[in-house]
C-alpha cells in the first residue's frame, strides 16, 4: 500500500465521517467524534504525504468512478505531495483547535457534516489527475465551504457573503472547465497524462493560461477576483476561516501551478509579465485594504489576498526564468513561492485561531471594541504575537525567509532578456517591498489595538484565557513558524524535488551547509542564517538584561500613565484601528480607495459631540461588480415583461418564429 493509497483512503474516511456527522450532529459527542476523527485521519495523511515528499517518487491510481471511459485518476508527485502536506497539516491542526473551539458552536449540526467533506475535497483536488475528478473535487470544495459559511445563516450579511462566494466560485469553476476543455481537445482526452502527451499550441496555451488565471485566481483571491474573499472567510467559524484562508487558497495556487507549469507546455515570456503584474497589484491592494479594516477577521482575510499576491510574484518569476531557460533561478523563485505558501498556511491559520479565541473570549470581532487582552489572555496574546511577527516578514521567523528568497530571485532577474520584464521586475520588487512594510504596519495596528492598551469595552475587560485545545493548537503553529524560520534549509531541501519536477532545476542542498545557513546561489552572493540571528538576539538581549540588572537599580513602581501630564480617564481616547490607519489612509487612500473623511463640528455653544467619519471604498467592487449586478437586474426586469403577454401575443411570437425560419429557408434556397 503506497502513499497515494493512504491519502485516498484518508479522503474516503473523511467522506465517511459525513453521514456519521449527519447522524450525531446534535449530540455533544459529535464534536469529539468528528473533529477527533478528522484529526486522526489528517495526521495519518500528513505522515504519508511527508514520506512521499521525502521519497520524491510518484504513484498512480485509477478508480472506476467519474467519467466511465476515463475513470477517476489520481496521481501523487512531489508537487502534489507538497500541497498534500499543507492540506493535511492545516486540516489536522484546525481539527485539533476545533476540539475546543467547537464547544461554542450554536448549531453544530450545520458545521459538522460539511467540515470533513471540505477537508476531503481539498485533498482530492490535490490528488486528482484527470480534469473531471479534479473539477468534481474542486466544486465539492466550494460547495462544502459554502455550507460552512452558511452555518451562521441568521447573521446579517452572511447570506450575501455566501451568495457572492458561490457565484464567484462557479465562475472560477467554469473558467477551469473551459481551460481543461481547451487542453483536452475535442476528443475529450481529459486525463492529465493525455494532456501532457499532447501539449497545446502557443495560442491555445495562452488562452489556457488566461483561463487558469481566472479560474484559480478567483479561488485564490487575485485582484480583481478577490471580492468574495473578505466577505466569506470571516463569515465562517474561525477554524473554517483558517482552513479557507490558510489552505483552500493554497489549493487554488496548486491548481494554477499544475496547469501552467505542468499541463500548458513551455511558457512564453510574456506570461510572466501578466502573472507578475497581477501578483504585485494583488499584494499592494490587499495589504492597503487590510490596513483600512477594523474587523479583525476581515483584516486577516485581506492579508490572505496580499500573501497570495506575493506567492504569484514568485510564480511569475519562476515562469520568466523558465521561459529564459534558467532552471536554477527558476527553481529559486518557485521554491520561494512554495515556501511562502507553506509559511502562509502556518501563520494565517495561527492568526485565525487567535481571532477565534478572541471571539470566544469576548464575542467581538471589531477591534475598536477590544484592547488590553494581553492581560486577560496572555498565552493567546503571545501566540498571536508570534503570528504577527511571522506575517510581517520580520527575522528570525519564517515569513521573512520566503520573502528574502523572493528578493534573491528578483535580484537574479536582470539576466532576463526581454525589455518588458526588465521594466516590470524592478517595479514589482518595489511593490513587494512596499507590501511587506505595510504588512508590518498593519499588524502593529492589529496587535496593538486588539491586545495592547486599555480595554475599550466591558467584554474586553472580562476576557479570560480560552480552552487548552485551542491554546495547544496555536502554540503548535507558533512553534512551527519559529522552526521554519530558524531552520529553513530543511524546508528548502524538501521542496527541491518539486522545483526539479516543474522547472527542471534544483537549488543547492542546504542541510549540508555549515551552521545550517541557507545559501540560495553562492556563499559570496547571499546567505542567511535564522538560527544564528535568533541566537544572537537572544544572547545579546539576555546579556543586556543581565548587565542592567547587575549594575542598575531594580526598583520599579506602578503609577498612572504620564501621557505628557494629561492622562485621560476614558479608554475611548486611545487610538482605535481607524485612527491608527489615518496617516496611511491620508498617504495612499486618496488614490487607492477614494477615502473620504468628514468632520461635523457643532456650532460654538452647542454641546452636542462632534462627529468624525472616515469612509473607504473598494474601487473594484464599485467599478466592476456593482455595474454587472445592475446590468443583470435590469435585463431580468426588462425580459420579465414577457411573462405577462396575452395569449395572442404569444401566438404572435410563434408566428414570427415560423415566418422568420421560412424567410431563412427562402434566402438559403
Amino acid at each position: 500500500m503506497n502513499a497515494l493509497d493512504v491519502l485516498l483512503i484518508a479522503a474516503a474516511a473523511l467522506l465517511a465521517l459525513v453521514p456519521l456527522a449527519l447522524a450525531m450532529g446534535q449530540s455533544p459527542a459529535g464534536r469529539w467524534v468528528i473533529y477527533g476523527g478528522s484529526l486522526a485521519i489528517c495526521g495519518g495523511a500528513l505522515a504519508s504525504a511527508l514520506w512521499a515528499l521525502r521519497r520524491a517518487a510518484s504513484w498512480d491510481a485509477v478508480l472506476p468512478l467519474g467519467l466511465p471511459w476515463i475513470g477517476a485518476r489520481f496521481h501523487l508527485d512531489p508537487l502534489a505531495s507538497a500541497f498534500a502536506v499543507v492540506v493535511s497539516l492545516g486540516g489536522a491542526l484546525s481539527s485539533f483547535y476545533a476540539l475546543g473551539y467547537g464547544r461554542h458552536e450554536e448549531e453544530p449540526a450545520r458545521v459538522l457534516p460539511f467540515y470533513p467533506a471540505f477537508l476531503a475535497a481539498m485533498s482530492l483536488v490535490v490528488l486528482a489527475a484527470d480534469a473531471f475528478s479534479f473539477l468534481v473535487a474542486w466544486e465539492l470544495m466550494s460547495l462544502s465551504s459554502w455550507g460552512l459559511v452558511m452555518a451562521r445563516h441568521r447573521e446579517a450579511g452572511n447570506a450575501r457573503a455566501s451568495f457572492v462566494y458561490l457565484v464567484m466560485a462557479s465562475f472560477g469553476a467554469f473558467s477551469l472547465l473551459l481551460c481543461f476543455g481547451l487542453l483536452a481537445g475535442p476528443g475529450g482526452a481529459y486525463a492529465f497524462a493525455q494532456i501532457r502527451a499532447h501539449p497545446p499550441g502557443p495560442a491555445t496555451a495562452a488562452l489556457a493560461l488566461a483561463l487558469a488565471i481566472l479560474g484559480a485566481g478567483s479561488k485564490a483571491g487575485l485582484v480583481p477576483l478577490h471580492v468574495w474573499l473578505p466577505l466569506a472567510h470571516p463569515a465562517a467559524p474561525s477554524h473554517v476561516s483558517a482552513l479557507m484562508s490558510g489552505v483552500m487558497t493554497k489549493v487554488a495556487v496548486y491548481a494554477f501551478a499544475r496547469i501552467v507549469f505542468d499541463l500548458a507546455g513551455p511558457p512564453a515570456w510574456w506570461w510572466a509579465v501578466a502573472v507578475l503584474v497581477l501578483g504585485a497589484i494583488t499584494a499592494v491592494m490587499g495589504v492597503l485594504q487590510a490596513l483600512m479594516q477594523h474587523d479583525l477577521k476581515r483584516l486577516l482575510a485581506y492579508h490572505t489576498v496580499e500573501n497570495i499576491g506575493i506567492v504569484f510574484i514568485g510564480l511569475g518569476l519562476a515562469l520568466a526564468f523558465r521561459a529564459a531557460a534558467m532552471p536554477l533561478a527558476a527553481a529559486l523563485a518557485l521554491t520561494a513561492a512554495l515556501f511562502h505558501v507553506f509559511n502562509h498556511s502556518l501563520f494565517k491559520s495561527l492568526l485565525f485561531f487567535g481571532s477565534g479565541a478572541v471571539l470566544t473570549a469576548t464575542g467581538e470581532r471589531d477591534m475598536d471594541h477590544l484592547g488590553g487582552l494581553i492581560r486577560g489572555m496572555p498565552k493567546t496574546a503571545l501566540a498571536f504575537l508570534v503570528g504577527c511577527i511571522a506575517i510581517s516578514a520580520l527575522p528570525p521567523l519564517n515569513g521573512f525567509v520566503s520573502e528574502w528568497l523572493t528578493f534573491q530571485a528578483i535580484l537574479l532577474s536582470p539576466q532576463l532578456g526581454w525589455w518588458a520584464l526588465k521594466l516590470a521586475v524592478p517595479v514589482v520588487g518595489a511593490m513587494l517591498a512596499l507590501s511587506a512594510a505595510l504588512a508590518a504596519a498593519c499588524f502593529v495596528k492589529a496587535y496593538g489595538v486588539t491586545f495592547l492598551g486599555r480595554p475599550r469595552t466591558p467584554a474586553a475587560e472580562a476576557a479570560r484565557e480560552v480552552d487548552g485545545f485551542s491554546l495547544a493548537a496555536m502554540f503548535a503553529l507558533a512553534g512551527l513558524c519559529v522552526c521554519a524560520g530558524v531552520l529553513p534549509g530543511f524546508v528548502i531541501d524538501a521542496l527541491s524535488p518539486v522545483a526539479h519536477g516543474l522547472v527542471g532545476g534544483r537549488m543547492p542542498e542546504q542541510a549540508s551547509q555549515a551552521w545550517l545557513t541557507i545559501v540560495p546561489i553562492g556563499e559570496a552572493r547571499s546567505s542567511y542564517n535564522g538560527l544564528l540571528v535568533l541566537a544572537f538576539i537572544a544572547a545579546s538581549a539576555g546579556l543586556c538584561a543581565l548587565a542592567i540588572h547587575a549594575f542598575a537599580s531594580r526598583q520599579a513602581r506602578r503609577a498612572p500613565a504620564w501621557d505628557c501630564g494629561t492622562p485621560s480617564a476614558s479608554p475611548m481616547t486611545q487610538y482605535t484601528a481607524t485612527s491608527f490607519a489615518q496617516p496611511i489612509r491620508r498617504v495612499f487612500g486618496a488614490y487607492v480607495f477614494a477615502a473620504r473623511e468628514q468632520v461635523e463640528m457643532p456650532p460654538p455653544g452647542d454641546l452636542s459631540p462632534a462627529r468624525f467619519e472616515a469612509t473607504v471604498h473598494d474601487p473594484i467592487w464599485e467599478g466592476l461588480y456593482a455595474p454587472l449586478a445592475a446590468a443583470v437586474a435590469l435585463a431580468a426586469q426588462r425580459l420579465n415583461r414577457l411573462q405577462f403577454l396575452t395569449i395572442r401575443a404569444y401566438l404572435g411570437l410563434v408566428f414570427l418564429a415560423l415566418v422568420g425560419l421560412l424567410l431563412v429557408l427562402a434566402l438559403w434556397n
Partner: protein, 320 residues
C-alpha cells in the same frame, strides 16, 4: 588562528559600536550647539545620561504589560546584532554571512515593530500618535531602503555587505548615476529612520510634532536608557553603513595584519566624525517639516531608488 582572528574582530566590533554610539550622539549635539553659538553639553554627556537613567527607578504605567517591559531589551538586541554585522573597520567579520544587508534592514524593522507595539501598550493617545506615524514613515522608508539595497546588490552581485564593500574598493566601479541616486536615497532614509530633522526632531517634546519621542514617552529609568542606547546605535549603524558602502577606504580586508586593522579603526572614527559633522550642519541649516510632508520626502527617496534600479536593469545584463 584564522577562526580566532575573525572571532576577535567580530567581538571587537560589537564592543566598538557599543562604545562609540553614545559618543557619536554626543558629538552631534555638541556640534549643533556650537553651530548655533551655544556652549552645549560635553561630548560624553550621553554616557552620563545613560548612567543616571540606569540608576533611577523605573515608573511603570498601571496599564502596561509584560511586553512593555520586555520590548526595550529586544529592541536593543535587534539593533545591536544589526550593528554588529555592518563592517566598520574590517570586512572579515566572523558572522557576516549569517545575515546579509536585507536581513540587517529587516532586523531594524523588527526593532521598530516592537517599539511601535510598546508605544501602543500603555494605551495613551500620544503612544498611538507616535506608533501610527512611525509605521507610516517606515512603510515608505523601508521600500526605499530596499531599492537602495537592490541597486547596490545588482552592482556588486551580492547582498553581503563585505562583498559589496570589497566591490566598492575594487577599481571597476567608476562613477555611476545609480550610485549617486542610491547615496542620496540612503541618506534621506537614514535621516527619516533616525528621527532627525527635517522628518522628526529628537529634541522636541512638542506633542503634535513628535514621532519617535511619543512612542517612548512612558519609558523611564533603565528601560529608557536601553532605548536611548539602541537609538544611538541605530544612528551609528546608518553612519557606518554609508561609510562602509560609499567610502570603504581603510577597511581592513579579511585576514589582514593588526596594523591594517588599527588603520581601519582610525579611518572609521574619522568617517564617523565627518558624518556627524555633516549631519549637524544639515540639521542646523534646515527646518523641520510638517509630519504629513514626510511621506513626500520619503517617496522622493523611494522614486530615486526605483530609478536607480531601473537604470541598472536597463543599462546592463545584470550580474552573472
Amino acid at each position: 588562528m584564522e577562526l580566532s582572528g575573525a572571532l576577535a574582530i567580530q567581538g571587537g566590533q560589537m564592543a566598538l559600536v557599543l562604545a562609540l554610539a553614545p559618543l557619536l550622539t554626543g558629538f552631534i549635539r555638541k556640534a549643533k550647539a556650537r553651530l548655533v553659538r551655544r556652549h552645549g553639553p560635553a561630548v560624553i554627556q550621553p554616557y552620563r545620561d545613560l548612567w543616571r537613567l540606569m540608576r533611577k527607578e523605573v515608573v511603570l504605567a498601571e496599564s502596561s504589560s509584560w511586553l512593555f517591559r520586555g520590548a526595550p531589551y529586544l529592541i536593543f538586541a535587534a539593533t545591536w546584532v544589526a550593528a554588529a554585522l555592518v563592517p566598520t573597520f574590517a570586512t572579515g567579520l566572523m558572522f557576516s554571512w549569517s545575515a546579509d544587508l536585507i536581513a540587517i534592514i529587516a532586523l531594524l524593522g523588527a526593532a521598530r515593530f516592537f517599539l511601535a507595539l510598546a508605544g501602543m501598550d500603555v494605551g495613551t493617545s500620544f503612544g498611538g500618535i507616535g506608533s501610527s506615524r512611525e509605521v507610516m514613515i517606515a512603510s515608505i522608508a523601508e521600500p526605499a531602503m530596499l531599492m537602495v539595497i537592490f541597486s547596490l546588490a545588482l552592482m556588486a552581485g551580492s547582498t553581503q555587505l563585505s562583498t559589496i564593500a570589497g566591490y566598492m574598493l575594487s577599481s571597476n566601479v567608476g562613477l555611476r548615476v545609480t550610485l549617486a541616486l542610491a547615496l542620496v536615497a540612503l541618506i534621506m532614509v537614514a535621516i527619516a529612520e533616525n528621527a532627525r530633522i527635517p522628518v522628526d526632531n529628537p529634541a522636541t517634546h512638542l506633542e503634535l510634532t513628535m514621532v519617535h519621542e511619543a512612542m517612548v514617552l512612558e519609558y523611564s529609568g533603565r528601560h529608557l536608557a536601553v532605548i536611548e542606547l539602541a537609538s544611538s546605535l541605530k544612528l551609528l549603524l546608518y553612519a557606518s553603513l554609508i561609510g562602509c558602502v560609499f567610502v570603504p577606504w581603510g577597511l581592513a580586508p579579511a585576514g589582514a595584519s593588526w596594523q591594517a586593522h588599527l588603520v581601519g579603526i582610525a579611518a572609521y572614527v574619522g568617517k564617523l566624525a565627518l558624518a556627524g559633522a555633516l549631519l549637524a550642519v544639515f540639521e542646523t541649516a534646515i527646518a523641520k517639516m510638517r509630519v504629513f510632508r514626510a511621506p513626500a520626502f520619503l517617496s522622493a527617496a523611494f522614486m530615486m531608488g526605483i530609478l536607480g534600479v531601473l537604470l541598472l536593469f536597463v543599462s546592463r545584463g545584470g550580474l552573472q
